[in-house]
C-alpha cells in the first residue's frame, strides 16, 4: 500500500519538476533567441515531461493499489 507520505512526496516531486520546466520555458516566450529556444527544447520540455511521467506513474500505482486497474 502506498503511504500518505509517499503520496505526498511523489506529487510534490512531480509538481516541482513541472514548475521547474515551466520556469525554464518562461524566458523563451518573453524574448525568443536561439539560446532561449535551446533551453526551451533541451531543458523546459524534458523537465515538464519528467514531472508528468512521474505523476502518471504515481497515479497508475495508486489506481492499481485501489484495485481500479
Amino acid at each position: 500500500m502506498i503511504s500518505a507520505a509517499a503520496d505526498d512526496r511523489s506529487v510534490r516531486a512531480a509538481a516541482l519538476l513541472v514548475a521547474a520546466g515551466l520556469l525554464v520555458e518562461l524566458p523563451s516566450v518573453v524574448a525568443t533567441t536561439p539560446v532561449t529556444f535551446l533551453v526551451f527544447v533541451g531543458a523546459g520540455i524534458p523537465l515538464m515531461a519528467a514531472g508528468c511521467v512521474l505523476f502518471a506513474v504515481h497515479l497508475w500505482r495508486s489506481l492499481v493499489q485501489k484495485g481500479v486497474l
Partner: protein, 206 residues
C-alpha cells in the same frame, strides 16, 4: 503566451502549496491532474508552436552576432547581390527573410531546419562558429525553385535557355542557380566595408 505559461506556473505552485488539502478531495485530485498533466502539456505544446514560429523570424537569426554581417548584407545598395535584391524588393517576407531562403522545403524540412539551427547554437558554444561560415551542403536550387518554378519570368528568361544553360539542368540541380556569371553574387560579406546601404525605416535589419 506569457499568460498561458504564467497561468500554468501559478496553478502548479498552488498545487505545491495546497497539495495536502487537495489530495483528500475528489475535486482536488482532478485539479492536481489538470495542474500537473493537462495544463502543462497544453502550455508546452502552445509554447513550442510559438517558439517555432518566432524562430523563423529575421530578428531571431540576426540575434547571433555571427549572423549580423549577413543581415547587413540584405541592405547593400546594389542590384546584384541576390539576398539584398530579394529583401529590398520584398520578393521574400522581410520578417522571415533568412528562413524563406535557407529552410529545407522537403518533407519534415521544418524539423531538419530547426535541428540544424540547434546544431548552430551547439557549435557556437562548444567550438565557436567557423570563419567564414559555410553552409552544411551546397545551396540547393530547390529553394529557389520553390518560388520561381513555373513563374513566367523564370521560364521565359532568355538567360535560362542558352547553349550553356537549360531549364532542365536547373530543375534537376545539375546547374546551380548560384553559378558564377548567373546569380553568383550572394551575401558579399567581404565587400561590406566599402558598400553603400539602403536606408529605409521599414527595413528589419539596421
Amino acid at each position: 503566451m506569457l499568460i498561458v505559461i504564467g497561468g500554468a506556473l501559478a496553478l502548479t505552485f498552488y498545487v505545491l502549496v495546497a497539495e495536502r488539502q487537495l489530495i483528500g478531495q475528489r475535486a482536488g485530485r482532478v485539479l492536481i491532474f489538470l495542474a500537473l498533466v493537462a495544463v502543462p502539456t497544453a502550455a508546452a505544446a502552445l509554447g513550442a508552436g510559438y517558439n517555432l514560429k518566432r524562430s523563423t523570424e529575421t530578428h531571431f537569426c540576426l540575434s547571433c552576432h555571427e549572423m549580423q554581417p549577413y543581415g547587413k548584407s540584405l541592405l547593400i545598395d546594389d542590384n546584384e547581390p541576390l539576398p539584398a535584391v530579394h529583401y529590398q524588393k520584398r520578393l521574400v517576407d522581410r520578417n522571415a527573410a533568412c528562413y524563406t531562403c535557407h529552410r529545407d522545403y522537403a518533407l519534415f524540412g521544418d524539423l531538419t531546419t530547426k535541428l540544424n539551427g540547434l546544431r548552430h547554437v551547439w557549435v557556437h558554444f562548444t567550438r565557436g562558429a567557423p570563419t567564414p561560415i559555410k553552409l552544411y551542403q551546397p545551396y540547393s536550387n530547390a529553394n529557389c525553385l520553390h518560388c520561381h518554378a513555373g513563374a513566367r519570368g523564370y521560364e521565359t528568361s532568355k538567360h535560362h535557355e542558352t547553349s550553356d544553360a537549360h531549364l532542365t539542368d536547373m530543375t534537376s540541380g545539375k546547374l546551380s542557380c548560384l553559378t558564377k556569371g548567373c546569380h553568383g553574387v550572394t551575401h558579399s560579406i567581404a565587400d561590406l566595408k566599402d558598400a553603400d546601404f539602403w536606408k529605409h525605416p521599414a527595413a528589419v535589419v539596421q
